[in-house]
């Protein structure tokens, strides 16, 4: 079974036929070649495949591709400007050492973006809670918190408040 879906991906209008059993992760990596989204476990436990759908961080390995119909999907490839200018969170991860092997980084940055879009001034506890589903085995998280905190402190994140939709599948 296949379904025709229209959605927005990194600002681009998409129209494509997707198999009903495809996950969003499969669609991104294997059909569209967007390998910035990583697979770490395939069962929603590690967060490496995190993307943002309508403002919410979701595990794309658990999210059916057909469910993106009518939605706005952001992957790591769409976060920097078209000219390659990094998003403030990306820049902060570079400067504050939030990256080692880098495999959790795309998911970690997108989970952070979804958090700051919804809550521009999160407390330390709120940051830890928001990122508890994104595993990192290299850094011990300390420089990741520092990277996010620097963005909050500098107020350089352009705040774009997204109201959480209660019927969203990740709730």
């Amino acid at each position: 079974m296949a379904t025709e879906v229209r959605f927005k991906l990194n600002g681009n209008r998409m129209q494509m036929t997707v198999e009903d059993h495809w996950t969003l992760l499969h669609l991104l990596r294997e059909e569209l070649g967007l390998t910035g989204t990583k697979e770490g476990c395939g069962s929603g436990e590690c967060g490496a495949c995190t993307v943002v759908v309508d403002g919410l961080a979701v595990n794309s390995c658990l999210y059916l591709a057909v469910d993106v119909a009518g939605k706005d999907v952001l992957t790591i490839e769409g976060l920097a400007g078209k000219d390659g200018t990094l998003h403030p969170l990306q820049k902060s991860f570079v400067e504050n050492g939030g990256i080692q092997c880098g495999f959790c980084t795309p998911g970690m940055i997108l989970a952070s973006k979804a958090l700051l879009d919804e809550n521009p001034r999160p407390s330390e506890a709120e940051i830890k809670h928001a990122l508890a589903g994104n595993l990192c085995r290299c850094t011990g998280y300390v420089p990741i918190f520092a990277s996010i905190q620097a963005v909050i402190d500098q107020g350089i994140e352009e705040v774009d408040v997204v109201v959480r939709q209660s019927e969203s599948p990740s709730d």
């Binding site: 390998t35 910035g36 590690c46 976060l79 990256i99 092997c101 011990g140 998280y141 918190f145």
Partner: protein, 777 residues
Amino acid sequence: MTLPINNGNEGGPPGIGVSIPRADAYMKVSGREKYASDYYGEDLVWCGVKRAGVPHVVIGEIHTRAASETPGVLAVLTHSDVRGTNRQGVLQKDQPVLADDKARHCGDAVALVIAEDRHSLNKALDLVSFDYELLPGVFDAEEALEEGAPILHENHPQGNLLLSGEYRTGAGASAMAECDVVVEGSFRTPRQEHAYLETEAGWAQVQDDGRLFIVCSTQTPFRDRSEVAEALGLDLHDVRIKAPYPGGAFGGKDGVTVQTLLGLAALNSGGRPVRMQWDREESFLAGTKRHPARLYYRLGAKRDGTLHCLDVHMVLDTGPYDHLGGVVLALGLEHAGGAYRVPHVNLKGKCVYTNNPVGGAFRGFGVPQVTAAIEQMIDMTAEKLQMDPLETRLRNAVRRGDKNSIGKTLVNSTGLRECLKALGEHPLWKSRAEWKAGAGAFKRRGAGVAALTHASGYGPVVPDVANAKVELTREGKFLIYSGVVDMGQGNATTNLQIAGSILCQPTDGMELVLPDTDRTLPSGSASASRCTYTFGNALIGAAENLKTRILQRAADLLMARSRDEIVLIPGGVRHLVSGKDLPLSVIAGFMDEAERISVHHFKAPTAPENFDAGPGIRMHGFPHTLFSYAAHLALVEVDELTGEITVCRYVAISDCGTVVNPQIYEQQIQGAVAQGIGFALCEDLVSTQGLILTQDFAGYVIPTAADVPEIDSVPVEIFEPSGPFGLKGVGEIAMNGPLPAISNAVADACGVRIFEYPMTPERVLAAIRDACKRISE
């Protein structure tokens, strides 16, 4: 802590001691870095493995027909399709690529399926079956040594004993009689899983010229090449291995994982590219683990706290194959007494085959296990003598020139005392009494310390060498050929920093070439806290040599009296006398290709001592000569009602020589501490009868963002003359500290000591209850 950042784009060379951001950071934050698991390509096919699923069997007929007939399946391969030795392994080649005679653990590979897509692949894998004769298994390392235990390798001369070591100094254990106090302890450390985010993965294809090209997530491309060639019956030079940045490795990619299987698939895919990526469960099942250890310790001291006698017996469970088990044992024996002067020592160790998952390299390499024991024995001794634990350590800590606990004379920088003293001055140590008094209802707080040492390099026999290569391209750009993999530890960036500081180039004026057996030179494994020490020394030689050639050619072109009048500047050279500049592109045009490429070999120094610790132990790396040191402090809170331990603050004070890049140094410390906290509190790959019960991240829990405390890393910078710019290895040492520091803190908080790890709430509660029972009796 905020670190000074020089983004490397300001035109100047990066310098040493400055936090330039990682060379790979931009590509990684933008999702554009291509990992081995990101290789696909036109006409791709998938391959995957049928695992044994039974721990110990004689393999009979393998039924592949149903799988072969599945639509979308290209081939189903078994051991009979392997043309080479069908054996792999780092030291002993005792592990089959595809099982032929027996399966020795549940993760053994029995058949390899190649299919058009993942869906058909999984379907076909389910249809492969095999006949087998069930053999009794052995799942406990000590039982495996008993008379009549099932034998894993019939041809191995010592039964299930892979390797044993025995070593004595002074009067050995008999000096225990001369001690005023003796403490005893038996410790059990768990099987730890690496849990890198990128599972074992790779891509392979037979190229137009007939050579096999493998791109894989590995720490050891050059050793992999030999293993693949031998196992598959190929000429070494017909195999090329390229190693992109792995998505984490920590020792788990030190040695072959997917490589031989991928190579075999590529030889049977009709020239199409092949991809393999283990899923998480397969990675847990078939990947290597930290050796579970049983440690039996007796430590004797004089009344004044001077250590006098140490008696150690350790048993390591290496699973069914050698892999690096013998080396882990040798390093464990060497570090069993910590960084202390102990005149009388008796060490015994055994590394034992079982039908459990394969033991292998994991950050720390045997040292976290023995440090867990010795650092608690020190606290137990201090407690018995009513001495301060920090003071007890300082009394016995080695200085340069001392002989350590195995009698090795310490000739390199030895900063343990400096680390311990800095810990004593740390505000968190000084204010610990007030902090402890602030515990709430049903909470107990404690402080625990651990003193650490960690060797770097391969030891006295296996040459620890690196071969660096630096090229000035015809266009005037520098290429730095990294011979050692950067699995996230940041050595690729440090290489740029080292080369840039010598060649006076900003990092964006140079380009890295990642390890590739066709392009870079063999420089050993990314392991053993050796990467920047060994390769960095080689790189200094290569860069200095190229610099001399450039200056000489420039001096000739600018009619300078000697090359001393010329200096390198970003992008060019300057004649100091005339002030005239020449761009590198012009100078490169006057240099032959042979002149524009510089290579340099470095071999790490080795210990002159020849200690007899049993056959093979020296070859496996006993002893080393260069050591890093550290002192750790854990402040923990224990919930008396639930048994839950919370690590509230952590301090790591380290002597790893000069700090070349403070940010990367700090990341190594903090990351290793987090892994150590997992080892101490929650990580245990549980298996019963060889079957893994914790098959995913829901069952095998690693620390999350919510579990890791603030970690304060304080470097004690002592210049190490043999190190590049004075540095020593920093990759592993911090892994050794958390378990003993936390356990000592728990003992300080509640008066109970846990001897089996991880320290789960259940174990903590049981220990508290036992103590209460003892008191009421």
